[in-house]
Symmetry: C2
Amino acid sequence: MAIPQSDEFNILMNKRPNLQQCADPQTECIACPIRKMALFRGVPEEELGWTQEFRDAQYLLPARETLYREGDIAHSIYTLFDGWVILFKILDNGKRQILRFVLPGDFFGFQVNGTGAGAGYTHGAQALVGSTLCVFPRTRLRSMMEKQPQLAIGLAEMGMHDMTLCQHHLIGTGRKNARESIAFLLLELFYRVRMQMQNGFDEATDSIIFPLTQEDIGDAIGLTSVHVNRVLKEMEREELIRCQRKRLTILGEETLMEIGQFDPGMIAPKELV
Amino acid sequence: MAIPQSDEFNILMNKRPNLQQCADPQTECIACPIRKMALFRGVPEEELGWTQEFRDAQYLLPARETLYREGDIAHSIYTLFDGWVILFKILDNGKRQILRFVLPGDFFGFQVNGTGAGAGYTHGAQALVGSTLCVFPRTRLRSMMEKQPQLAIGLAEMGMHDMTLCQHHLIGTGRKNARESIAFLLLELFYRVRMQMQNGFDEATDSIIFPLTQEDIGDAIGLTSVHVNRVLKEMEREELIRCQRKRLTILGEETLMEIGQFDPGMIAPKELV
DNA sequence: CCGATTAATTGATTTAAATCAATAAAACGG
DNA sequence: CCGTTTTATTGATTTAAATCAATTAATCGG
């Protein structure tokens, strides 16, 4: 049975043809299990009806589909409700640099070039696995923030968090070798998944769903997939990790943390004093 | 003649021993020539007396002095009024990664680890040349933003700008070679200086004051100073740049932009719609 | 379940940049 | 101006990672 599709949905589909409408019922902001980590973290409960109204709807993005490309007009901004999304940039020579791994609760799509409603995304976005998105109109963000300063504070706090991650990736590509960078990235994603979502993390085996290919890892860290493979294999031989069937298990957490110079404190959400 | 020093100054000096009190008169926020680019960009003129009161004072940081180290308790946040400051992180192996070049109008010092008043800076800060700083107490930032949402919006906008720069540095270290990264960095700094400040840029020769050593360049891009030297020398031989006596001239702007894949649009200040 | 595509694995070879090692040239503090 | 300390420069050698080239193992769509 076909799901009836709203006008707004059809308009959005013209802009973002890969999105699929969610089956109802959709999660309300007030009942949202990830709200405390997400954009509306600081907004008081009694105001949530109002933020709810700001939100367009929830949509599904199938695995491997592109949400938007660099340069596309940025009509929407997004909160990832469930799944994995990567933000990346393709260089002239065809090489790809992954800029950010988006996990549930993360907000994205607000980095644009240019001014006004016609500004374009500075990067592309693509799902690694089937993902659910909360969609918001970008052009109302500023007026929303003026009315509700908690929203602006939340955005600034999330921006600080994203910046910390980006700076650590810069440190990795700039001044760490392959083994160190890879150890760091695996731990970062492991901790983020364990902290941010209920599903994905399996307590029994201390493992997470890990949908990255070795090429994805390389494109995040600035290595070729061949070299990533060699390092991962070596780590498996050393019983530091197990990485197969899209599942990652951390066996030697202490050792990996030393190798990667990883401090779990960096994963903690940022809060303005 | 010694400048009389206030109580607040003496308290600050215990925390930041390298700062020197400015000779009066200090620049008032309302008369600040860089305000339109800085933190108080969106704050209406009639509110500036109030923001002025938030500000501690202006201080001098001599060339090569450290403002703070990673882990220091983050009492203050800063706007650079004049000069050049670098933010960096030192790894366990002693290597340094420069995270950001701070130019006049830029806001910094708010990236911290931990919560509350005792949180510590995630990075160190050091002056490349004698610099003037506007100092603010970090612990009042949130309440300021709640009272004046324009401040939060300004912070979010500046955060977007910083993020764009950080992502481009990541792209450079991750997926560009030495020649491409260096071309990009030189152009980025050239454009930022030309855009942000009156002094520093010399219209007659189309050159800027450029206080970085070749080691600084390397630590920003993830290269050794030896290799930076070879690439710079080659670029000089090709008449693309002139880089001597702490002054940088761009001779082959078009060619450099192609080499570095540099788009001046990325330098433009970000604005929320 | 099955052919087709995508991802992982491994070996051989090359290369961009690091490292090692000296000088030469600037900048700095009295 | 002068000795001292930083920076810049250049050559010789090494190395971490890239590239090239197959082959094997998974995953996917019907």
